[in-house]
């Protein structure tokens, strides 16, 4: 059963990932990404990390991909960019070599270090953590508010910056003065 679930999830992840890079239409690529993220959520479930699986679906498959689709819509949905342009000829083969090399390196490291993973991994305590159905979330909350409380607070700063940056870059130019009016005109003519 475990193995079957893993194989299904792995097939979803890999199929989605390959889809993301091979589909030339951006919307299809974004939908393939959802498949990948769902596969990861299934893997979380297989590890008894139910809360993480839910977060994965809500935040990634929900919010983040919606954001991607927004961006695709903003940039024009009908444009399938041609990837044939290649200013430096060697860079694609070189990228392939480096990519395969990195993958091989990480693969070798994981194969060699899998005993360490088993020793070091503590993960979520599913046996003794016991306290009802929420034990998963309770452990997470305890950890979040003790060891990682600083990281938790800094996350809010990070999100504030994301919002401020979005507003700074995406807000329509103010029309309070002659020079701003000029940029409005330029934007309109650019859109046509």
């Amino acid at each position: 059963m475990q193995l079957f679930v893993f194989i299904c999830a792995a097939a979803m992840i890999l199929g989605g990932a390959v889809g993301v890079i091979l589909r030339s239409h951006p919307v299809h690529a974004a939908l393939s990404l959802i498949l990948t993220l769902f596969g990861v959520a299934v893997l979380f479930v297989a590890q008894n990390a139910h809360f993480l699986a839910a977060v994965q679906v809500i935040v990634y498959a929900g919010a983040i991909v919606v954001l991607f689709l927004f961006v695709i819509m903003l940039l024009g949905v009908d444009k399938a960019d041609s990837l044939r342009i290649d200013p430096v000829k060697v860079q694609r083969p070189l990228a392939a070599v480096v990519g395969v090399g990195l993958m091989g390196l990480i693969g070798a490291a994981i194969v060699q270090g899998r005993s360490t993973l088993a020793q070091r991994g503590t993960g979520i305590d599913t046996a003794s953590g016991g306290a009802g159905r929420d034990s998963n979330i309770r452990q997470l909350a305890t950890d979040l508010f003790s060891n990682h409380v600083f990281a938790f607070e800094i996350t809010s700063v990070l999100l504030v910056i994301a919002v401020v940056g979005t507003v700074l870059l995406a807000r329509r130019p103010r029309s309070s003065g002659a020079s701003d009016g000029e940029s409005v005109i330029r934007q309109n003519s650019g859109a046509k």
Binding site: R138, E153, S156, L159, R171, V184
Partner: protein, 153 residues
């Protein structure tokens, strides 16, 4: 993992439904396309111009806010579940977290990033009210050509 069986069943059903609908409509529906059928639906009116290709960029700000509050809720959830254990420490940490968020939200609203009205709402009147602008410079007289003295105009 057994508890996820309904989810799997639902997913399979959903996929089946999609596939069956597509195949059925392919097989059963008659195909007689005409120009009127293929045109985009505009309440019966013949479309006058091409649809705009892009969404306005303001949508992006809304999407970003959505993601932000989504993440905030994810963080609130564990706190809500083990609120009693975490006690006042957890409460004040949560308050600090949401206060920073709230500052960002106030900033977005006050900066006018969520205003959807026409742009000229904020136009200042400096250029409209000035000594150079007089009646003769702003109002165009129609049909007076050749009848008035050119120098006066």
């Amino acid at each position: 993992m057994g508890q996820y069986l309904p989810v799997v069943c639902l997913m399979i059903l959903a996929i089946l439904f999609g596939v069956v609908s597509f195949v059925a409509s392919r097989l059963l529906a008659p195909r007689r396309p005409s120009a009127a059928k293929q045109a985009p639906y505009e309440c019966g009116i013949v479309p006058g111009r091409e649809l705009p290709e892009r969404f306005p960029v303001s949508f992006y700000i809304v999407a970003m806010l959505f993601v932000m509050f989504d993440i905030e809720i994810i963080f609130i959830y564990p706190y809500a579940v083990s609120r009693q254990e975490l006690g006042s420490f957890g409460f004040w940490e949560m308050i600090a977290f949401t206060a920073v968020f709230f500052a960002a939200f106030v900033y977005v609203v006050a900066r006018g990033a969520l205003d959807w009205g026409p742009v000229h709402k904020y136009r200042r009147l400096d250029s409209a009210v000035s000594a150079e602008r007089t009646l003769s410079s702003t109002i165009r007289r129609v049909g007076t050509e050749g009848r008035l003295d050119e120098k006066a105009a």
